[in-house]
């Protein structure tokens, strides 16, 4: 099983190095097959214009069968974007990271999805239950059972 995740990630990494990331997304570090960091920036007109956020991917040995744990990095002065689906501890409520994850999705496709999630946001505001969630949230967002109720933003 471990061979699947490392082989797959190796291929994804090669592709990123060869073709580069999509516009606005930069690979920060991918030293091992457990944790990768990307920076993400929304291009064009947007409420997040010229703001750069850092995304962290954590992979389990059976990735891509199981979804990666994706969070915004909120340490060392980095912040999570103010967005109705992003909690202030960096956790992201997105169905493709939970029950709609499919093994054909990749790290880059997740980045693009999150980028467009930010781009389509009209108003910067935290999730309604932010305080309550952040107080009790587990370290790994995959342990949270999100209710995906709103896919308009």
């Amino acid at each position: 099983m471990a061979s699947i995740s490392s082989r797959r990630l190796q291929k994804e990494l090669t592709e990123i190095h060869m073709e580069g990331c999509p516009v606005g997304i930069t690979l920060v570090k991918a030293d091992d097959f457990e944790t990768w960091w990307f920076t993400i920036e929304v291009m064009g007109e947007s409420v997040y214009r010229s703001e750069v956020y850092t995304l962290q991917f954590r992979f389990e040995p059976n990735y891509p069968i199981s979804a990666p744990a994706v969070t915004f990095v909120v340490t060392d002065g980095r912040k999570a974007p103010l967005h109705p689906h992003v909690y202030s501890n960096g956790h992201i409520c997105a169905s493709i990271l939970g029950n709609e994850w499919s093994p054909v999705l990749s790290v880059v496709s997740v980045c693009i999805t999150l980028q467009s999630m930010l781009a389509s946001c009209k108003k910067k505001e935290p999730p309604v239950d932010n305080d309550r969630y952040v107080r009790t949230a587990p370290d790994n967002p995959k342990k949270t059972r999100f209710v995906y109720h709103d896919d308009t933003v």
Binding site: K11, N62, S102
Partner: protein, 565 residues
């Protein structure tokens, strides 16, 4: 069911002779394995407290599933894989499936994950659903044309075998195996959808069989059986750990029937051959000697025999026993409640002039009346006839009386439960005695079996007795209750007598006498147990029992405030 006292072979025979779910259970005769010591009643007549049920092994349940699949295949003209997927999607409800399918075949097939949502008509099902993708069908075609690149692991080694469902979303066999195995093993999920994003196609059995290893497929079949059993209210899975048998009990399946019957069933783990072949007599003996019957209630969650009392009352009692923990008991017996705010107060010293810490109400500990009425009559409470005090004391003595009443029943219940737990010891001790007897006397192994029989019967009766106390606690006062308690007393006495006999020391010279006595007593105890069970069961059918609390499915109790707790 038949009592296991008779070494019955019913279960084994029925299951494998009949495919019918509701097979008739008493067609077979005796098998000649009784011991001459124990004259048992012929089992042709079903006792009032027994009901018809069938024990099914996993292969037997699979046979039932196959029959349903065959039926659907015949009616809808689809292949086995499609019929199975459709049935699983509709929770094995054949009528609804046919109705929906006739209404809109395409929509039903899409919903069940058999075909993709496309405007074109249903594909003819003759085509094999599994196939090797021969040409490049990956949704994101890799640049190196000609070779296959798995879209999951991105591997493009030449030896890779691409696999796909009808939708053509190909992945290498290794990824499919990892994916399906993780679904089955980690998620206990029998529905394995295509891995592609947004594709709702479900992998049919033949595909799964080809994709994963033997162990995984066995687990997959187990999941299917569990799903089938879960969907059918006439079936229930044996709750014992790692037992894979199923019991079919249509007469205990409806909620309304639970007021008249106590559907205690046994999954047949003790006498059901799992491979389909009946056991030989010697194997049978070994199994009976070592195995333990998996008895459970078909109607509720209690996984042991709770006859004679019906499910609703048994559940009520267990809940009460859980609530009334030792702590609660102690609080009730050692504290009083403030007459005003009813907070619990323990008096551990000082005078009788109490001031409630919570509501500051001042009252007299002795008479529970307000202190203001006591004036200067310190320590000599003379206010007995004051209404408030009388009421307070009344309420308290009532609570105490009802506690005492509960404890009376609970102690007896707990006592029998404890004895049942010690049954293992008793069996071991009996075993030893039997050996001793074989050494000290001329009796053979088969002739000392009477000890074991007695111990087993004792164990069974204790279970009955235990539950009679739960029943008696909730029975409304009256003649019926008295009759019930008479029967209970007779059984209790018989059980204690037999118990004493079993414990008595063995002396070589009185073994024959002991054997005679034990045998007689065993038969008597068995009879008393039968009487209690039968009479109670008949009472339920006749609607003879009335309760002192409201019980689901029964008439509301007549006003009898002093027994309700």
């Amino acid at each position: 069911m038949s009592s296991d006292y008779e070494y019955s072979d019913d279960d084994v025979d029925n299951v494998f002779d009949d495919d019918e779910l509701m097979a008739d259970g008493d067609s077979d005769g005796d098998d000649g394995m009784e011991m001459d010591d124990f004259k048992v009643v012929p089992k042709a007549t079903r006792k009032a407290y027994e009901l018809e049920y069938d024990s099914l092994s996993q292969p037997a349940v699979e046979k039932l599933m196959e029959k349903d699949v065959e039926y659907i295949r015949g009616i809808l003209g689809v292949d086995d894989n499609t019929a199975s997927l459709l049935l699983r999607h509709m929770g094995w409800n054949k009528e609804r499936l046919i109705e929906k399918y006739m209404d809109n075949a395409n929509k039903t097939l899409v919903a069940a994950g058999v075909i993709r949502p496309e405007p074109e008509a249903v594909k003819p099902s003759k085509r094999p659903i599994t196939r090797r993708a021969t040409k490049q069908r990956s949704p994101s075609p890799p640049k190196s044309s000609g070779s296959f690149t798995c879209s999951i692991c991105f591997d493009d080694a030449p030896g890779l075998t691409p696999l796909s469902l009808e939708c053509g979303h190909a992945a290498c066999s290794g990824c499919w195996e990892a994916y399906i195995t993780s679904k089955i093993r980690d998620e206990a999920e029998h529905v394995c959808r295509c891995m592609a994003e947004g594709c709702g196609l479900v992998a049919p059995d033949s595909f799964i069989r080809g994709a994963i290893d033997e162990d995984g497929f066995i687990r997959f079949q187990e999941l299917l059986v569990r799903h089938f059993v879960g969907c059918n209210k006439n079936l229930k899975f044996c709750p014992y750990p790692s037992c894979t048998n199923t019991v079919s009990c249509p007469s205990g399946a409806s909620k309304s029937s639970l007021t008249t019957v106590v559907p205690i069933v046994s999954c047949g783990a003790r006498g059901l051959a799992s491979d389909g072949a009946p056991l030989s007599q010697s194997q049978e003996l070994v199994k009976r000697a070592t195995g333990k019957e998996h008895k459970f209630c078909f109607g509720c969650v209690i996984d042991s025999d709770h006859r004679p009392v019906v499910c609703a009352v048994a559940t009520l009692w267990l809940k009460k026993c859980r609530d009334d923990s030792e702590t609660a008991n102690w609080i009730k017996s050692n504290t009083k409640e403030c007459p005003k705010c009813v907070s619990t107060i323990e008096k551990n010293g000082g005078c009788n002039h109490m001031t409630c810490k919570k509501c500051k109400h001042e009252f007299c500990w002795v008479c529970m009346g307000p202190w203001s009425e006591h004036g200067t009559a310190w320590y000599s409470c003379n206010r007995y006839d004051e209404e408030a005090g009388v009421n307070a004391r009344d309420a308290q003595s009532k609570s105490r009386a009802s506690l005492e009443r509960y404890l009376h029943y609970y102690n007896r219940w707990a006592n029998h439960e404890q004895s049942a737990k010690l049954a293992q010891d008793l069996f071991a001790k009996t075993e030893k005695k039997m050996e001793e007897m074989q050494i000290t006397s001329t009796l053979t192994w088969i002739e000392v079996q009477f000890m074991k029989k007695a111990a087993e019967e004792l164990d069974k009766c204790r279970v009955t007795l235990k539950w009679t106390y739960a029943m008696a606690y909730y029975l409304a006062k009256g003649n019926q209750k008295e009759l019930f308690e008479d029967n209970q007393r007779d059984l209790e006495r018989a059980v204690e007598d037999l118990s004493e006999l079993l414990e008595s020391p063995i002396e070589p010279e009185n073994i024959p006498a002991l054997r005679q006595k034990v045998t007689d007593k065993t038969v008597y105890v068995q009879k008393r147990n039968d009487i209690v069970l039968e009479d109670t069961a008949e009472g339920f059918v006749e609607g003879r029992w009335a309760w002192n609390v409201s019980v689901d499915g029964f008439e509301a109790p007549a006003a009898e405030p002093d027994t309700a707790l």
